[in-house]
C-alpha cells in the first residue's frame, strides 16, 4: 500500500503563532497511505496543536495542510465537512456526548451520514464495540463507565464510518497495559491489515514503537527528529534519546526558572493568591 502515488497527508511549512509565541515553526512532512505516524514530544510542545491543524479545526498562521491531496487550510467550513467524512478522530477524553448512551454515541455518525436501516446500524455498532472489547455496553451512559472505557467508545465511534484515515490524540494514556496492547493491536490490524492510515499523538513509548511505521519528534516548535522506529531508536540526537528512555537529566529543559516565567507572563506570579477568598466564598 505504501507510497502509491500521492501522500494522504501533506504538511508544508506550517507555522502557527499565538500572540508573539511561535508554537509550530516551519513544520513539513508527508504521510503515505497505510503508514502509522506517531507524533511525540514533551507536554506543551505543540503536538495537539499540530493535530488540530491537520483536522482543519485550527487555521495556520502560514503554510498549508493537504488531506487526500486537497488543501484544507483555505477551505470553507462547508467543503471541509466533505473531507471530514473520510477520516475519524479519537479525542484525548473520548469526547462522548453525555446525553446519549454508548450505543447512540457510536451510532451517531452512521445516523447522520448514511441511509442505513436501524437494524444495520445496530449491527455495525455491536461489531465496533466488540472490536474495542465493550460488547454489551450499548445501553450505559458515558458517566457510568470509566475513563479508559470512554476512550475505547470514542475509538469505536471514530471507526464507525470505516475511515481511510484515523487521528488519535493519546489513545492509550489512562489505559491499563493489557488494554493498551488491545488498542495497539486493533490499530495495527486496521493499518497493516486493511490499509488504513493512522496519525497518533502519544508519549507512551512502548505503544509508540509497537504501532509506528514512521515517527516524528517535536520540540522547540520544530521537528527534532523523524524516521522509522529503528532510525529513531538509533538516533544520535541526545534529546531523542532522553525522551525515548524517559530520563530526567538531559538536554530537554525540565521547566523554566521563576525569572524566565515572569518574563514570559509579564506578571508576577502570586502562588495561592485569592485561594482563601475563593474558599470562603464557596463554603459561606
Amino acid at each position: 500500500m505504501k507510497a502509491n502515488g500521492k501522500p494522504m497527508i501533506e504538511v508544508d511549512r506550517l507555522v502557527r503563532e499565538f500572540g508573539d509565541r511561535t508554537v509550530l515553526n516551519d513544520i513539513s512532512f508527508n504521510v503515505h497511505s497505510g503508514d502509522t505516524l506517531v507524533i511525540m514530544g514533551g507536554s506543551g510542545c505543540g503536538k495537539s496543536t499540530l493535530l488540530r491543524h491537520m483536522i482543519g479545526a485550527m487555521k495556520p498562521t502560514s503554510g498549508t495542510v493537504k488531506l487526500f491531496g486537497e488543501e484544507i487550510t483555505g477551505m470553507k467550513e462547508r467543503e471541509i465537512l466533505r473531507i471530514r467524512l473520510r477520516f475519524g478522530m479519537l479525542f484525548q477524553s473520548g469526547a462522548l456526548l453525555a446525553s446519549l448512551t454508548v450505543g447512540e454515541n457510536v451510532a451517531l455518525p452512521l445516523l447522520q451520514h448514511t441511509d442505513k436501516s436501524v437494524d444495520e446500524i445496530e449491527e455495525i455498532v455491536e461489531q465496533k464495540l466488540q472490536m474495542v472489547g465493550l460488547t454489551g455496553f450499548e445501553d450505559l451512559r458515558p458517566d457510568e463507565i470509566s475513563g479508559g472505557m470512554k476512550k475505547r467508545v470514542g475509538l469505536a465511534r471514530a471507526l464507525a464510518l470505516d475511515p481511510e484515515l484515523l487521528f488519535s490524540d493519546e489513545p492509550t494514556s489512562g489505559l491499563d497495559p493489557i488494554m493498551t496492547a488491545v488498542v495497539d493491536e486493533l490499530t495495527m490490524k486496521l493499518t497493516r491489515g486493511k490499509g488504513m492510515t493512522a496519525v497518533v499523538v502519544s508519549h507512551d513509548m512502548t505503544s509508540a514503537f509497537r504501532i509506528a511505521t514512521r515517527m516524528i519528534m517535536l520540540g522547540h516548535g520544530g521537528i527534532v527528529a523523524q524516521g522509522t522506529p529503528d532510525e529513531i531508536r538509533a538516533s544520535s540526537n541526545p534529546e531523542v534519546q532522553q525522551f525515548i528512555k524517559g530520563e530526567p537529566d538531559g538536554p530537554i529543559p525540565l521547566n523554566l526558572s521563576q525569572e524566565e516565567h515572569e518574563h514570559h507572563q509579564h506578571v508576577k506570579p502570586r502562588p495561592f493568591a485569592g485561594a482563601r477568598d475563593r474558599f470562603h466564598r464557596k463554603t459561606g
Partner: protein, 138 residues
C-alpha cells in the same frame, strides 16, 4: 459542552453543532414556553377562584362572570406573544453561554449563573418594552 471536547468532536464528525444542539432546544422552547404559559394562566384563574370562593365569599358563577367581563382576548394573545419572545431570549443567551463555556466544571457553573442573570434582566427589559408597545398600540 465545549469543556470536554464534545463540540469539537461534533465538528470533526461533520455534524454542525448549532443544528445538532441549538435547533432542537430552540424549537422545544418555542413550543413549550407558550404551552407552559397557557398552563400558568389556568392555574392563575383557578387560584383567583379559590381566593374569591373561600376567602371573599363570591359564588362560583359570579367569579366566572366577572372574570369573563374584565378579561379580554387580547390579554391572552399579548401573553402568548411575550412568551414566544421570552423563549427566544432565554434560548439565545443560554445556548451562547453553553457553546462558549470554558474552564471545566467551575466554568460551567459560572456560565449557567451568568446565563440565568442575563436572561432575567433581558426579559425584564423586554417585558417593559412589549407592555409599552401593546398598551399604546392596542
Amino acid at each position: 459542552m465545549k469543556v470536554s471536547e464534545e463540540i469539537e468532536a461534533l465538528e470533526v464528525m461533520a455534524i454542525n453543532p448549532v443544528q445538532f444542539l441549538v435547533v432542537p432546544r430552540f424549537l422545544a422552547m418555542m413550543v413549550m414556553l407558550p404551552a407552559l404559559t397557557i398552563f400558568g394562566n389556568y392555574i392563575g384563574i383557578l387560584g383567583g377562584w379559590a381566593v374569591c370562593r373561600f376567602a371573599l365569599d363570591f359564588n362560583t358563577a359570579g367569579y366566572i362572570l366577572r372574570a369573563l367581563e374584565s378579561a379580554d382576548t387580547w390579554d391572552l394573545y399579548s401573553g402568548m406573544i411575550k412568551s414566544v419572545v421570552f423563549a427566544w431570549i432565554t434560548i439565545t443567551i443560554a445556548c451562547n453561554a453553553g457553546l462558549t463555556v470554558e474552564g471545566g466544571a467551575e466554568g460551567v457553573g459560572q456560565a449557567t449563573t451568568t446565563a440565568v442573570v442575563q436572561a432575567l434582566l433581558a426579559m425584564l427589559v423586554m417585558n417593559a418594552v412589549l407592555t409599552g408597545i401593546f398598551f399604546f398600540a392596542a
